[in-house]
């Protein structure tokens, strides 16, 4: 994996802390790292040059603040710049006074047009609209069939006739009018931007339906070519916005910045998962962190939100800080945590975790053994590990296929941990000493600071 920008800057900025001002020389070194980070994130070379110049003008002479170290300060400048470049303009869907509002989806092969068309239809439906889909991709085998299946899942009608895609689109529009559907989404075949014949075809489709919105579908994994593709499609179709797909992957997604910068058109939607409701409006701030390689944290949070039941997690956190956490709670939370993937992977994504901890091995069988031990305990034992005497220990170890020493170790460590957590709870409760404490008090200070700087209202 690539280094995050903060890791990168670490080396360059050593010894910079005590100076009052960033010199030209400092800035040049720092910007070289920024450039590499952006290139590794697939931001287009030309766009990178532009971004770096913007940042240079802000960074030279910037006073080194006492609150932030120079690294943080540079990151903040870069981050803010990216957010402003990615955001700036938002797309508001204005519905046509004479329905239907027509949306045309275009893009390269495999960028995710068909799935996005269905997801977009579902989004319109959630807005109280009555969308209809037109399958004008008659190129790829079974593309229309795919759209029909998705339409059936969403209970949204799909129109298509074999033969000519332009005709299909035109008939689809007539169909939508006669059935009173107020949004029409036209899926088109994937095409290469340099394929003149196919580009002419999509232009003809566009003329036939006269779309209110033309969306370019862009894969978040796209590299340098994103710019050329976006320009070619814009020249042919006059793009109104971008749908960024496959954001649930781990690509940094620099293509988003390149396309936004080149077209000057908003990124309207982001597709974030395999399910049909994994489709949302675009968040520029999250994308900026992601491009800089600091988006892991957000991924982690998103995954946690999907997997954990919020109420239970809150309850468990509160219990933990009050020292009332039991092995049963622990088991439950551990099982939820496992749904997020390997513990090693999760650890790797945690911000501020020291290297030696990230490299500590957490073998899966050790986790399994821990689970087995707890599974072999009775409910009373889980609630109150002090009950566990010699004979119970033997029983548990036999039941779980471990040794008495393993059981001992687990109980001992759990007790120590509980104590530690209780201490932590008392420390963080210092501010507002109400009995229950604010719900967010489970948060370690550093994380809280990192989060609020990243997610704070803008």
């Amino acid at each position: 994996m690539f280094e995050t920008l903060s890791d990168r800057l670490g080396g360059v900025l050593k010894g910079l802390r005590n100076r009052g001002r960033l010199t030209q020389q400092d800035v040049t070194e720092v910007l070289a790292e920024v450039r590499t980070a952006l290139l590794e994130a697939d931001v287009n070379v030309t766009v990178v040059r532009d971004v770096v110049e913007r940042i240079r003008s802000q960074a030279v002479g910037a006073t080194v603040s006492t609150a932030l170290n120079p690294g943080q300060q540079i990151i903040k400048i870069v981050n803010d710049e990216l957010v402003s470049m990615l955001g700036g303009e938002t797309l508001k869907i204005m519905y046509a006074s004479q329905p239907p509002t027509v949306v045309l989806m275009a893009g390269l092969q495999g960028s995710g047009k068909t799935t996005s068309a269905a997801k977009l239809a579902s989004w319109f439906k959630s807005q109280g609209r009555q969308p209809m889909l037109v399958g004008a991709d008659l190129q790829r085998p079974a593309a229309v069939e795919q759209l029909r299946v998705l339409g059936a899942q969403l209970n949204i009608p799909v129109f298509s006739v074999p033969g000519d895609p332009v005709k299909t689109a035109r008939l689809g529009l007539a169909e939508a009018k006669s059935f009173g559907r107020d949004v029409l989404i036209v899926d088109t075949a994937g095409r290469l931007a340099i394929d003149e014949e196919m580009m002419q075809q999509v232009k003809d489709i566009s003329k036939a339906v006269n779309p209110n919105y033309t969306f370019l579908v862009v894969d978040a994994m796209t590299g340098q070519d994103a710019v050329a593709v976006a320009q070619a499609f814009d020249a042919t179709l006059s793009i109104d916005g971008v749908v960024l797909t496959k954001l649930d992957g781990d690509a940094r997604g620099g293509a988003a910045l390149s396309v936004k910068h080149v077209l000057g058109k908003p990124i309207a939607f982001a597709a974030t998962g395999e399910k049909l409701d994994a489709f949302e409006q675009f968040h520029p701030d999250r994308m900026a962190s992601r491009i800089l390689g600091m988006g892991d944290m957000l991924t982690l949070i998103e995954q946690a939100e999907k997997v954990f039941e919020k109420d239970k997690a809150e309850e468990a956190a509160a219990k933990m800080l009050e020292g009332e956490f039991t092995l049963a709670d622990f088991l439950e939370q551990l099982q939820q945590l496992k749904k997020m993937g390997s513990l090693q992977g999760i650890m790797g994504m945690m911000p501020g975790v020291p290297k030696e901890m990230k490299n500590a091995e957490i073998p899966d069988d050790q986790v399994r053994r821990t689970e087995a031990i707890i599974f072999s305990m009775t409910a009373q034992e889980r609630a109150n590990p002090e009950l566990i005497n010699g004979s119970r220990r033997v029983r548990i170890s036999k039941g779980s296929g471990t040794s008495v020493a393993d059981v001992n170790r687990l109980v001992k460590q759990f007790t120590e941990m509980k104590k530690m957590m209780k201490q932590m709870g008392q420390k963080s409760g210092r501010g507002g000493k109400s009995a229950k404490g604010p719900k967010g008090s489970a948060m370690p200070d550093e994380l809280a600071a990192a989060l609020s700087s990243r997610l704070g209202p803008r």
Partner: protein, 368 residues
């Protein structure tokens, strides 16, 4: 005193209690979850968002209306075309300057070769220029191309087919969503049939709607048999059934399709690893695992190759959609860093558009 520091002390200590690590993770994640979800709630109910969501300006015309922030409007013009000539100009100049190096670097970066690989191929050339062994820009260019081509000639690009097996060879095709797996299988099927091999397609993509239908179209085009499972069914069992059928009918080659998946999706990657294991369990043998990579893919391609290799021991790369404007330079990094040979290249939508990879052609196209 932060929680992380306390934890670090515990881990550094001799007892190294793993269980505490896990617990610590739990606490932090609770904390994050709680704080963020409360923030989220605040965000989702903010007036602007609500305005966005319930925008129903039916009295407006059908014109698309985009609010623009003029300050961010600085557009990029002629991004790629401007560069095409630049390198040609650099090469005709009489001496090697910083500009020459910058242009070469930029050409490689624009082709998605990546920062690290670019630095690696340029480093030995810098030595040669320093030692005055290369003095002309055009010599530098050919030296660079030779160097890159040489780096790409370590591995065999033959598709592995073991005719002495006495059982079906299985070629498993994997990759992210939309890379072109199903199309690649269709083309492979036609080509292998033309070579006189009997082919069976196993429709292991049970997830994407109508993926089976798509493969079925290719099967009938190429005269191959096909085994399909239920939509949403277990892909391993579909492929296992395909191999069983191929064995009983003495079919030479099973081409196994799989659903596209993003490499950071742990569950789906585990499912794929299982597909690979199960495929080997029947009478056939997996002799080739092809990773399909879209030529437009950027630096994420390297991560794809790593993760798919971990799950399925990839034996070769298929670079698709190279007929577009993208150069597919990331596969250079994949082959030279991970030693996974690029075996095939997709150049279009017809059956003949899947061809053997040619290192020399590929390298010279990077600079065009």
């Amino acid at each position: 005193m932060s929680a992380i520091n306390i934890l670090a002390q515990f881990v550094a200590g001799d007892t190294a209690p793993k269980i505490m690590l896990v617990l610590a993770l739990l606490v932090s994640i609770f904390g994050i979850g709680v704080v963020v979800s409360s923030r989220r709630n605040r965000v989702t109910t903010s007036p602007q968002t609500r305005e966005l969501a319930s925008q129903t300006a039916s009295n407006l015309t059908s014109e698309s209306i985009v609010e623009r922030d003029v300050s961010v409007r600085a557009r990029l013009s002629k991004a790629s075309s401007a560069f095409a000539g630049a390198i040609a100009t650099a090469l005709t100049s009489s001496s090697i300057t910083q500009q020459t190096w910058d242009d070469l670097e930029e050409a490689l970066l624009r082709a998605d070769v990546g920062v690290a690989s670019t630095a690696r191929v340029l480093a030995p050339l810098r030595e040669l220029v320093k030692a005055k062994k290369i003095t002309q820009p055009s010599d530098l260019m050919s030296a660079l191309q030779n160097e890159m081509t040489a780096q790409l000639s370590q591995n065999s690009r033959e598709l592995n087919f073991d005719s002495s097996l006495g059982a079906p060879n299985i070629w498993l095709v994997v990759g992210v969503n939309g890379a072109g797996k199903t199309t690649t299988i269709g083309k492979l099927s036609a080509q292998q049939s033309a070579l006189g091999r009997s082919v069976l397609l196993a429709a292991g993509d049970t997830f994407r709607a109508a993926a089976g239908e798509q493969l079925e179209t290719w099967a009938s085009r190429s005269g191959a048999e096909i085994v399909r499972g239920a939509e949403g069914g277990d892909p391993s069992s579909v492929i296992f059934d395909g191999v069983a059928r191929a064995t009983s009918r003495k079919i030479d080659l099973v081409l196994a399709d799989t659903a596209g998946r993003l490499q950071n999706n742990t569950n789906l990657m585990e499912e794929l690893a299982k597909v690979r294991r199960v495929a080997d369990k029947g009478s056939g043998k997996v002799t080739e695992v092809l990773l399909v990579i879209d030529a437009t893919t950027g630096q994420n391609g390297l991560t794809q190759a790593k993760q798919f290799s971990l799950a399925t021991q990839v034996t070769g790369v298929v670079l698709t959609k190279l007929d577009g404007s993208a150069k597919g330079g990331i596969v250079f990094a994949i082959e030279t860093e991970l030693q996974i040979p690029i075996k095939l290249v997709g150049l279009g939508e017809t059956i003949d558009d899947l061809v053997a990879f040619d290192a020399q052609e590929f390298v010279s196209a990077l600079f065009e």
